[in-house]
Symmetry: C2
Subunit: 219 residues, 2 copies
DNA sequence: TAAAGTATGTTGAATTTTCAACAAAATGAG
DNA sequence: CTCATTTTGTTGAAAATTCAACATACTTTA
């Protein structure tokens, strides 16, 4: 675990937890670390959610797939970030998403009941972890509203421009990379891939954007 | 405040708080109660969010309105339920939604900093409130995934059927009322109102649903 | 109760999106 | 380096959505 100490220190779950107590605490929480290869399922859809996931290296993708195979990408999750925390904390009976590794990734899993329910050792960190979870879930809720802001637009063009403007704002520059290929961007924006490609070409011809693969510039 | 004790006891924010301490606690938290008339704005878009709202009577609607006036309805909130809690807890600099009273409604507002930061009186309830907030925000996150599940469908028909099936499941019956009129349902599903009306008629002719105003039956 | 205002359903035209198919470009494996 | 696979862009036809306009039904209030 020591190997990932730097990442864990940045993890919002461990905000205001002393570095010295972190490793001890992880043992107490029964945290495990596993390697998942590219395209492997970290958490399968349908099962009850018992664990909070933390990406230590690589990245994972949170997908919602319906009965006839339509995929919606909810988010990519990067080192130091959590996933499945809302469902775990709500003790959801069924996880409606699937979590897939984008690349070989080390993932830490922590049984959420070890966080929420005070242990016999009477550790003092539970309150801080619960506070941190509350903050983290609240912040993540805000990113969902942003997804709704994008996908509630009625046309491919507007969805794309709303998304690109958000990314530019986030990056702080008019030039930035997006974390999706075309199909993934289409699945995030909830539009048809070929129509999205056509719209990108159109915006380029109109001189509104410049783009090359997943690199974009707003003119 | 006594008048609303029964509602407050059901509010998830006060789970596991003794009835006897509730009123004292509300005073300590500086809770206020105000009446908002129909169509009045309870929380305006754009301002920093300092308060958590609790509906005591009536109901409010959470809307997202973009620069060119397109409205997306996020949810209706009913007595005993919270609103704006995620933005307040995340200490968001700007509230991207607007909260409007659907009818004359009594609303309690609590400054979230009074909950998150221990007061001088050293009240013992902060930890419980933070835990309750965490649970509440986690549960609400799940309802957002349900909204995404509905709106990510590509056609009006599929959005509508997904929504109706969810409502039926929630009601526990194939016959149920929905909390929206046509325009509101269209704004929730993120589709055109007239197209939605046409689709409802079509489903009725095909014998898939029966409906009258906001009363629906899945056949 | 009547009148005004609001909500709903219907229609057809214009616009968009989706779908399918394919070629070109890029990537990855051996 | 070459071949196989995946990704991307392009196109046209089919299907669906949006938009505008209007008639009817329903609500509200004066």
């Amino acid at each position: 675990m020591k190997k990932y100490l730097e990442i864990l220190k940045k993890c919002p779950l461990f905000f205001e937890i002393e570095e010295e107590s972190l490793l001890r605490m992880l043992t107490c929480l029964g945290a495990t670390i596993d390697l998942y290869d590219k395209k492997y399922t970290v958490m399968p859809e349908g099962k009850p959610v018992k664990h909070i996931g933390i990406v230590l290296s690589g990245s994972v993708q949170i997908n919602q797939v319906d009965y006839d195979g339509n995929r919606t990408i909810i988010a990519n999750v990067y080192p130091g970030e959590l996933f499945a925390e809302a469902f775990a904390c709500a003790e959801a009976k069924s996880f409606p998403l699937s979590v897939i590794a984008n690349e070989p990734s080390y993932i830490m899993l922590i049984d959420v009941s070890h966080i929420l329910h005070t242990c016999n050792n009477n550790c003092g960190f539970h309150q801080q972890l619960i506070f941190n979870l509350m903050k983290d879930i609240a912040l993540k809720t805000i990113t969902f509203y942003q997804k709704i802001e994008v996908t509630s637009k009625r046309s491919t063009r507007e969805k794309l421009l709303t998304y690109l403007n958000m990314q530019a704002k986030k990056a702080g520059y008019r030039t930035f990379d997006i974390p999706f290929n075309r199909q993934e961007l289409a699945d995030f924006l909830e539009v048809d891939r070929s129509g999205l490609s056509a719209e990108i070409s159109k915006l380029r011809k109109e001189g509104i954007i410049e783009s090359n693969k997943n690199h974009f510039t707003l003119i």
